[in-house]
Each structure stands twice: as structure tokens, then as C-alpha cells.
């Protein structure tokens, strides 16, 4: 296991100043800071609800005070690799909703795309503004060694977590002002401005003025509601619910105290299935009837574009390196984790024979639910899971259990290494932009590899050192 802070008892360079500070101040000071930080979080009201678990709907997401640090050199590689991926994924989305060149070329199987639940026939042939579908790409990256980074998955449908990146930094700057003064840590605070710029740049065809932008949320009961309101507030745009919007004569309007006001760009944080009951799920009360008609006729832009989900499917993921070569003519900068597709008979056989050492995931799953972590599972669990796989092999993929890097983290017994991953947020509009930073998630249980906040994972601030 790669420990990001210490290798063979030597402190790695990016962590030098932090370790000095920790040694100079002692554990009591750190413990006190930790309590302060928790109070701050609760006061601000940053919470994360977990669906279906009952209990407190405004649970605090555990915040770990010890930052995760990258050197400028490490970041340069991540930066180029993430942007490259975001470009290729968008090129792929445009392609599959238009000519399907990558399918004709025999690189990606047609079934995988066209029979995919996330493939949206309703948007075939539509040209979204700037031909961009996924405007915010969250790329989940893990590390296994000093130079080994792997992409675990891509999130093309409005990934969440960016508010933690920003709020974690605010808290850290309050807790450790001297460290921020003395070290050169890249700021992340420009993210909301960059997001606003991106959203403005995708104004729809019919928009003849400064676009009116809104953030569309399912409401205060949603687990990511805090983030929705935070981003709307930071950008200075309205936070709306479906009931606030309506369609009239090929345009979308919101209900205001002055009467209807036209809306041009919708940054939606609700799923495709719910955005328009006339086009998708008719039982949706979250959406806006008629929205898709307006979208089709260029009266409104939707971020992310409907249909973008087909690019972040776990089976499609395996083809992203091929997409990069096909559309960009480049070699992938970031590696994919080797993946067995259970839809292939040979792969299926291998997976079933090696369940105890693999991580098996549902192709369409997310949030860390419904997966099997082989080494951490019992024989009975493996047998039960094998039955599920056999029932519908196409629904599963498997990957080797990677030895994720670990970062020192506050736990009950003191400070101990815990596994981490990393999600930077790449913005795609008139330009491809990436804030130097991201969300580091940490698996708080010893040995655990599941970092999802819905599964008891925590978060850390991520520092990118500048040159």
C-alpha cells in the first residue's frame, strides 16, 4: 500500500511542511482544531442525507482535518489527463447522437450504446449549444503508487461534491492560517465563477441577451440540496424547483413576484427521467412539462444535456481510452483500471472463478451500492452475488482489487492511514477548465476501500502545491 505521506519512514516532500507543523503543535492542538471544524460545519449547515437509511436527514459528512497534498508536477499530469478525458467523452456523446462513427468503425459495440438504458432516443440529432453534452465531468481517480494513477469511473451527469471542495477549503483556511500563509497552495475559490462562465457560454440559439441562468433542484429533501443552494448562491442565480418553472410558447419561464420571467440556461440537478413528464417519466412531479420541446427548438439550454449519462456507464467506461485515440488522436494520459466485462463469456468465467479477489460492480449502479468487494466478502456473499451475475451477466463488470493509496486520517485510536480517492471537477463550455483541486474522499473504516459518502466515507481538503 502506498502511503502518500510517508514512504519507508521518510516524509514525502509535499507533506514536509504539514508534518513539521503537526509535530510542532502536538496532538492536543490538532484535536481541538478538529472539534472546532465540526462545530463550524454544523453551524453552516453542510449536511448530507443518505437515502433509505432513515435517521437524521441532515447528517454531517465526516470531515478529516489532515489534507491530501499533490505536488505541482503530479497535478500537471492529472490536469492534462482529466481535460483529455472530458473532451473525448463529449466527442463520444455528440457522435452517438449523430453519425455514430465510433460504432461504424467497430470500436464500440452498437448494443452497448443503443440498448443502453441511459441512451436517450429523444435527443438524437439535436445539437446542444457548442455541441457539449456533459458540462461538468467528475473523474474519479485512485492512486496506487508514486506515479500510478487510475481512473475508476467518469461522472458525466452533474456530479456532486464540489461544494465540499470549496467549504473544506474555507474551514481549513480558518483552522490553519499560518500554513496557508507560508505554503503556496493553489486556490480553488474561482470554481463558481468558472462554472458561471461555462453556463453563460452555452446560451441557447434563440437567446438574444445576457442569458438568465437557474439551478434546478429536486428540493430540500434531496441529499445534495446543500450543494444546489450553495452553488446558486455563489453564482448569484436563482435556485428553482420544477414547480417554479413552466413552458409557454416555446420558451421556459419561472414564476416570480413580478409575473413570468424567461429562463435561458438550466443547470439541472435532477435526473433525465424526471425533467419532463411529457417526454420521460409521466409520474414525475419534479420536472417541467414541455421542457424537452423547448430544448429541441433551441429555446433553452440544459446542463448537463439530456442523454449525457450514456457516456458514464460502467461498461462504456472500458472504451474511454479507445475514444481518446479515436476522437483526439492522442494516447490516454490517465490509465483505466483493467476491467472484465461479464457480457463476454471468457471474462464472465474468469470473474466467477476469482470472485474472492475482484471488485464486482453493477454497470448502472452508483454511490457504492450493490457492489461486491471480493477480499472483504464471505463465501456466502460471493455465492449469492454469483447468482446475481449469472442471472444477467451484461449488468456486471469486475476489476482487480487495487491497493489504493492511503493518507493519514483522524480515527478513534489517533491518526492512522486510510484509503483515499480523488474527484476533480472539469468544466466544458467555450473552453475546458479545471480548478486546481477537487474532492478527496476517505474510507474511514480500517482496510475499507469504499469511500462513498453514502456509505460512511469522509472528505478531506486537497492541496495542490504551486511551483
Amino acid at each position: 500500500m502506498f502511503n502518500e505521506m510517508r514512504v519507508n519512514d521518510q516524509v514525502r516532500e509535499p507533506y514536509r511542511a504539514l508534518v513539521d507543523w503537526m509535530e510542532a503543535n502536538g496532538p492536543e492542538v490538532l484535536e481541538q482544531k478538529r472539534l472546532e471544524a465540526e462545530t463550524l460545519f454544523r453551524k453552516i449547515g453542510i449536511t448530507f442525507a443518505v437515502y433509505g437509511e432513515g435517521g437524521d436527514p441532515e447528517r454531517l459528512i465526516p470531515f478529516d482535518l489532515i489534507p491530501r497534498i499533490f505536488t505541482a508536477m503530479e497535478w500537471r499530469k492529472l490536469d492534462r489527463g482529466v481535460k483529455q478525458r472530458a473532451r473525448a467523452l463529449n466527442a463520444f456523446l455528440y457522435d452517438v447522437y449523430h453519425n455514430g462513427e465510433i460504432i461504424k468503425a467497430g470500436i464500440v459495440p452498437a448494443d452497448l450504446v443503443f440498448r443502453n438504458d441511459a441512451f436517450e432516443p429523444a435527443v438524437i440529432g439535436i445539437d446542444p449549444p457548442r455541441n457539449v453534452y456533459s458540462h461538468i465531468v467528475g473523474v474519479d481517480i485512485v492512486r496506487t503508487g508514486p506515479d500510478d494513477f487510475y481512473v475508476l469511473e467518469d461522472n458525466c451527469r452533474t456530479p456532486s461534491g464540489v461544494s465540499y471542495m470549496l467549504e473544506n477549503r474555507e474551514i481549513m483556511m480558518r483552522m490553519f492560517p499560518d500554513l496557508f500563509r507560508n505554503l503556496r497552495i493553489e486556490p480553488v475559490e474561482s470554481y463558481p465563477d468558472m462554472l458561471l462562465k461555462t453556463l453563460k457560454s452555452i446560451a441557447p440559439r434563440k437567446c438574444d441577451r445576457e442569458p438568465n441562468i437557474v439551478v434546478l433542484t429536486p428540493g430540500a429533501m434531496n441529499s445534495a440540496y446543500y450543494e444546489h443552494s450553495f452553488l446558486a448562491d455563489q453564482m448569484g442565480v436563482e435556485l428553482v424547483e420544477g414547480q417554479d418553472l413552466f413552458v409557454h410558447e416555446d420558451r421556459v419561464y419561472m414564476r416570480t413576484t413580478r409575473g413570468p420571467a424567461r429562463v435561458d440556461v438550466i443547470y439541472r440537478r435532477i435526473d433525465d427521467a424526471y425533467i419532463d413528464p411529457l417526454c420521460f417519466r409521466s409520474d414525475s412531479v419534479l420536472g417541467i412539462p414541455g421542457l424537452m420541446n423547448v430544448y429541441r427548438s433551441g429555446g433553452v439550454a440544459i446542463c448537463s444535456a439530456p442523454g449525457a449519462g450514456v457516456a458514464d456507464d460502467k461498461a462504456v467506461y472500458t472504451y474511454v481510452p479507445d475514444m481518446i485515440r479515436f476522437y483526439l488522436g492522442q494516447e490516454p494520459i490517465l490509465k483505466n483500471v483493467p476491467t472484465w466485462k461479464c457480457s463476454k463469456p471468457d471474462d464472465l468465467q474468469y470473474v466467477l472463478e476469482h470472485l474472492d479477489e475482484l471488485v464486482v460492480k453493477e454497470v448502472h449502479g452508483s454511490g457504492g451500492y450493490g457492489m461486491l468487494v471480493g477480499p472483504a466478502s464471505t463465501k456466502a456473499e460471493q455465492a449469492a452475488y454469483a447468482k446475481r451475475i449469472q442471472a444477467d451477466p451484461g449488468d456486471f463488470i469486475a476489476q482487480p482489487t487495487l491497493s489504493l493509496s492511503a493518507c493519514p486520517t483522524f480515527v478513534e485510536s489517533g491518526i492512522a492511514p486510510r484509503h483515499v480517492d480523488f474527484r476533480p471537477f472539469c468544466l466544458v463550455g467555450d473552453d475546458v477548465r479545471l480548478t486546481p483541486g477537487g474532492l478527496t474522499r476517505v474510507a474511514l473504516c480500517e482496510g475499507s476501500l469504499v469511500v462513498n459518502s453514502s456509505q460512511g466515507g469522509g472528505v478531506k481538503d486537497t492541496w495542490i502545491m504551486s511551483d
Partner: protein, 315 residues
């Protein structure tokens, strides 16, 4: 501004004001209970409090009308829509549904109040702890209004918040007076004896206006003056006249800001004129109860008109 946001702001401040008024009502009951009974002696102070709270219909008819039971009903009962804990629950839920429309200071004031109220240790209020609790609630209201006053932008949102506050306050003052006159005093009872005066001053206390009264009138209490102070005196912060004046001003601001006038403006001015042009003698001779009932009807109509004219439905 989104109609839903305006709706939320309006009701948010109504709920905070309502919680505070509930606390003031209980303060009145607590005080009155320290005095020998008035009138026929069967009427209990806590029955009056319950009736003035406007939520008597939800009270278990078999439950005794004692401080413990009534206070518990008005503070912690989850089935009572207007209980203090529910007022703060709704206020915070409204705030959470439009975090972008309020400031961090306002949010913290509401959030902290609710977190305290939800704490189980809060729920075993000893009989003598009621005054302390009442003070605490009033403080939360003051904190929220103070945070609002010192941090929020003076835009339309501010107007909707203030409209909620004054509509709710006017409703409460009217009900407070109505209860004193209608429930406590049978028509046959003499107005003006010692006990009665004490009760009238208690009404002033419930409106936190005892000292203010002295400053304004520099004279003895009389039902006439006290009613004047709480109804027609524009300098009294809880009087109907002051509430009506504030409501009119904020509606005017909205009309200027939006460049639009609605039926609600007409209604508000009408009520305001009624209060500036009435005389106390006149009101007493036609009947205080009738006057207050009429005012409450007008006030409710005003609240509906605000919702209609600014495109948010009733709640």
C-alpha cells in the same frame, strides 16, 4: 424574485413572530395566575391563554386547563400547528428551502433555535422554569429580527419578510385584546376595579409594553388608554395602527420597486385609514369585540391578497 421564495420569506417571518407571540401569551397567563381570580372565578387564566392562542380547537377537551398541560400544548405539541416548536420547525424548513434568499446570520439564528428546542432535555420544563423559557423564545425572535435587520439586502425579499412579521403581529395583538375583553370579562362585570386593572396591565405586559405605556401616557392605567395604546397609537410597536402603517409602507416599496400596483394596496390603505381616523370612544360604544373581529377579517383578507397579487398561493 421567485414567487415561492416570497411565499417562504413571508411565512418564515410569520412563524417566528407567532412563536414569540405564543411566548408572550404564556407570560400573560403566568402573571394572571399569580392574582386572585376575577369575575365568576371559574374562568381560568390558562383557558384565556388557550383561547387567545387561536389553537384551542386542537386541545384535548378532557385535559385539565392548568399551566403544565396548556404550556406543554402550546410549546411542544407536534399536533398543534402553532406550537412554538412547530413554528420553528416550519420557519427553518422554509429557510432551508431557500437558503440563497436569507443570510448566514439569519440561518444560524433559526437553526440554533431549533437545535436547542429539539434537544430532549428542553422538554421537561419545570413549572417555575416557564418564565425563563419564555425569555429564551423572545430572545430567539429578537435575534432573528436583529440578524435580518442588520444583514439582509433591502430588496423585495426584505419587504416580504416585514409584511409577514406585521401581518402576524397585528393578528396577535387583536386576538390578545379580544380575549381580555371577551373571555375574561363577562359583559355584566364592572370595568375598572383593582383586579381588572391588574389584568389590563397584564395585557400590556404580554405585549411587552408596560414601560412604554408609562412613557406615552404618564398616567394611570385605564382600559380606555391601554386599548388606545394597543390599537390606535402609531408609536406603540405592537399596535394595530403601527402594524398597518408598516404594512402600507412595505407594500408601497414593492409597488415602487416593481412599478405595479395591485388590489392589495387598496386594501391596506383602507385598513390603515380606518385606524388613523377612529376614536377610542367610538370603538368602545360600538363594541370592542366587533371592532377587533372586523379587523381580524380585514387582516386575513390582506394576507390572501398579498399571496394572490404576488403569485403565491395561500398556505
Amino acid at each position: 424574485m421567485l414567487s415561492r421564495t416570497a411565499d417562504n420569506l413571508f411565512w418564515l417571518s410569520r412563524y417566528v413572530e407567532r412563536a414569540e407571540n405564543m411566548a408572550r401569551l404564556m407570560e400573560m397567563g403566568y402573571r394572571m395566575a399569580l392574582m386572585p381570580a376575577a369575575g365568576d372565578g371559574n374562568r381560568s387564566e390558562w383557558e384565556s391563554v388557550l383561547s387567545a392562542s387561536g389553537c384551542a380547537s386542537g386541545y384535548d377537551p378532557d385535559a385539565p386547563l392548568r399551566q403544565e398541560e396548556v404550556a406543554n400544548f402550546l410549546i411542544f405539541n407536534r399536533d398543534n400547528q402553532s406550537s412554538i416548536i412547530n413554528c420553528f420547525e416550519y420557519a427553518r424548513a422554509n429557510a432551508r428551502a431557500m437558503r440563497t434568499a436569507i443570510t448566514a446570520d439569519m440561518w444560524e439564528a433559526l437553526n440554533n433555535a431549533l437545535m436547542e428546542l429539539r434537544r430532549p432535555s428542553m422538554h421537561n420544563l419545570a413549572k417555575n422554569e416557564l418564565p425563563e423559557f419564555i425569555d429564551w423564545v423572545k430572545k430567539q425572535g429578537a435575534l432573528f429580527r436583529g440578524a435580518t435587520d442588520s444583514t439582509i439586502l433591502r430588496n423585495d425579499g426584505y419587504d416580504f419578510i416585514r409584511l409577514g412579521t406585521f401581518i402576524e403581529r397585528a393578528d396577535n395583538t387583536a386576538r390578545l385584546l379580544d380575549v381580555k375583553y371577551y373571555v375574561l370579562l363577562p359583559e355584566t362585570s364592572m370595568v375598572g376595579d383593582g383586579v381588572d386593572n391588574y389584568q389590563w396591565t397584564t395585557v400590556l405586559r404580554a405585549a411587552s409594553s408596560l414601560r412604554a405605556f408609562h412613557w406615552v401616557y404618564r398616567d394611570d392605567y385605564s382600559p380606555h388608554r391601554i386599548a388606545h395604546f394597543l390599537i390606535l397609537n402609531p408609536f406603540s410597536p405592537r399596535s394595530l395602527a403601527h402594524c398597518a402603517e408598516q404594512i402600507t409602507q412595505h407594500l408601497e416599496r414593492l409597488a415602487r420597486h416593481y412599478g405595479q400596483r395591485h388590489s392589495v394596496h387598496h386594501l391596506a390603505v383602507e385598513t390603515y385609514s380606518l385606524l388613523t381616523q377612529s376614536e377610542m370612544d367610538e370603538i368602545f360604544s360600538t363594541g370592542l369585540h366587533e371592532f377587533l373581529s372586523d379587523f381580524q377579517v380585514r387582516n386575513r383578507a390582506l394576507s390572501h391578497a398579498i399571496a394572490n397579487d404576488y403569485h403565491f398561493g395561500g398556505q
